[in-house]
Amino acid sequence: MRTQARHRSPRTGRISTSLRRVTAGVALGLAAASTAACGAATTGASSATTQQLTAPPASALDGKGEVQVTFWHAMGGKNGEALQRLTDQFNQRNQGRIKVTLQYKNNYDDTLSAYKTALNSGQAPDLVQVYDIGTRFMIDSGSTVPVQSFVDVDKADISDIQPNIAGYYTVDNTLYSMPFNTSMPLLYINRTAFVEAGLDPDKPPRTLDEITAAARKLTVRDANGNITRYGFGTALYGWFVEQWTALAGQEFCDQGNGRDGRATKVNLATDEHVKQLEWWQRMTEEGLALKFNSDTAESDNAFTSGKTAMTLESTGSLGGFLANAEGKFEVGTGFYPKADASHGGGPIIGGASLWIVGKGKDDAHKRAAWEFTRFLATPDAQATWHTATGYFPISKSALDTDLDKQWRAQRPQFDTAIKQLESTALTKATQGCALGVMPQARKAEESAMQAAVHQGTDPRQALQDAEKSLDSAIKDYNQSVGG
């Protein structure tokens, strides 16, 4: 959409100056106009409904020949390759019946954006991968068939799915989508640095205060007083704050974290959050934590290069950490730290899930999309997925397969995640907040974190500002979906 008047030579010669002036002026104006028009690329007028669609029975595929299923996803690199392998396996087993075609849509944000546009123009895929925080929005879009509906029709047994993982995608006691790539936050430590500093690498810090104490010992200064290694350093990623909220047993948004009814308010300016941001401020002021923006790629890089000795990241980063730290230091993992030792909750799972599109789709396509979704949730498929990508398997028995056991034998660090999940009780708090504008809420949260850590704003003030900035967005959203 960007028009750039780059190819016009400055000396076109024949055209008179005034004509040139007019055309160039028009070009400049139009270039600006085309950017203006970027925001204006939608048509259609149908309004979203929250009425849910129901699942067709298995017979929907009878006599339909080979049903073509399009699956939009956001898995790049080795994750995308693993997904392709699983898809090929499924297609081979279902020859003449179902054929799944993958379409890579860059990232979660772009996938969702494309999906909305496609719904309006009738070009929607049959299956779409949506990030955790898009859950409430997908329900409200009224465009999908709840997974629960297929489970009920098939009388399928889904007890093999980890209850904490299914819990995130369950709203009003209905499982709306099938969890797929799942991750949890962990504390990652540089074991080699721990030994150097006289700390026990088998006992990583369990609370924020313990992190501070360990960071004091891990931080190294050179002769000029410059810090050569920081004890701690992690991105100002909103997900981390949401985790502390859940560990404290608190709900991030009202109405039982949006699980009992539509949430109307995000609880950002809480004493708990203020304490966390104050801790973060102290860590950077004391020179114990390296400052980062909200992009975890930067803090990952600093950790594997040995510049920081502890970081927070998702389980999905373990593989990358092990590979990039190889030959430099030993990577260890610990439970995600609590903001206070007295907290008894657990972390929330993250990642993405699969949504079966129903709007504008015939029964055969809905059914075919479900068959593929069910295949991806099987223990074998999950073991393949888990060991190829490092995401947490959603199937309990995937952990008992030989493939998975061998993989974990080489990466004992992953057992921390399994223990952490097993010791987390499923409550409203650990289910996480289901909110229509959750992506915006996370961004606002990150703005507050940045204001506090980078701009020195009073944490409570920063959190109140962020909370206020969300009020109208939540109100507009709820009004738009009629609740």
């Binding site: 104006g29 950017t35 925001g39 939608t42 007028a45 979203a48 969702l112 890089n301």
Partner: protein, 311 residues
């Protein structure tokens, strides 16, 4: 044309058969213009009217326009926050345009000297032009990573403590602007070097005989003679800076706490980012951008171009 008898005066375009000729010429002209006009209509004029329409509408969660809200979206822009956003956009534009034109000019002057190896230098300096904004941003993020930055390491060697390039609110906008300067200077260097190469040696010779040397010659002779190139560089760089999105999105995502959020970033944010689909407000902001673009164009063409010397 061949069958038309010569007009009595012997000159073409005069009365007597000239009218049908002119009509045919006009029709032919229109025919040749049609593909361009259709493209312009579909991709620029139609979306512009659509933006005007959408700016008066609310959106449902899927982005469909709903009820009319009149000028409410524009009223939403009458806040100190939006004023700060505009000011930041102008600051960013200035931080890109001034060094983005002066730096290549400073490099272009020695590069036009007929010395061996200059072609290699010219190619090397022009290379950033080939990078997309996104690729350049990713590369520079790695160069400036707080943990592993080679730039910080070099600064450390000369005893300079590097700032937090992308997370310090005082530096973030400067950093994003600097990366934009880096990527526009290659193109500007080509434009300015081409302008300098066409400066007539005879004129310079004459000036030297008249006693104008060094800075005086540059300001009084060279600058006016390359002013069309210079003007072109200023206008295109202004546009690039006004529309810079990839750099902001990738390097800072508008942060820390909005301190690198420009008008275009804000439009993108309202319309497509974080599952937003507030096309109404985004369109209103887009129209503000249009006005800004037109105003800047008016200033540049009305004030600056008077001083441009076309030959």
């Amino acid at each position: 044309m061949l069958t038309r008898p010569d007009p009595p005066t012997g000159r073409p375009g005069k009365p007597g058969g000239g009218r049908s000729h002119r009509v045919r010429e006009a029709l032919l002209g229109l025919l040749l213009l049609t593909p361009g006009l259709v493209g312009l209509g579909v991709f620029v004029v139609f979306p512009l009217f659509q933006a005007v329409y959408l700016s008066t509408r609310d959106n449902d969660i899927l982005g469909n326009p709903t009820r009319s809200v009149g000028l409410a979206h524009f009223a939403e822009l009458l806040t100190p926050e939006f004023g700060a956003l505009l000011a930041r956009t102008f600051l960013f534009t200035a931080l890109v345009v001034v060094p983005g034109v002066l730096l290549p000019l400073a490099i272009a002057a020695p590069l036009t000297q007929k010395l061996p190896g200059m072609r290699i230098f010219r190619t090397a300096f022009a290379l950033p032009f080939a990078y997309s904004a996104s690729a350049a941003s990713v590369v520079w993020l790695i160069m400036l990573n707080p943990g592993t930055s080679p730039v910080n390491w070099l600064l450390g060697l000369v005893g300079v403590q590097a700032p937090s390039w992308t997370s310090d609110p005082g530096w973030a906008l400067v950093t994003v602007a600097a990366v934009t300067v880096w990527s526009v200077s290659g193109f500007n260097l080509l434009v300015l070097a081409a302008g300098l190469a066409q400066v007539d040696e005879d004129v310079l010779e004459a000036a030297r005989i008249d006693g104008a040397t060094g800075p005086r010659q540059f300001v009084s002779i060279v600058l006016p003679m390359i002013s069309p190139s210079l003007f072109f560089a200023v206008v295109t760089t202004t546009l690039t800076a006004l529309q810079a999105l990839g750099q902001v999105h990738i390097m800072t995502d508008g942060g820390p706490n909005g301190s690198t959020s420009t008008l275009v970033y804000s439009i993108f944010d309202r319309a497509f980012h974080n599952n937003n689909s507030d096309y109404g407000l985004a369109s209103a902001q887009g129209l503000v951008l249009l006005v800004v673009g037109v105003l800047l164009a008016a200033v540049q063409f009305g004030v600056l171009e008077r001083r441009v010397h076309y030959r």
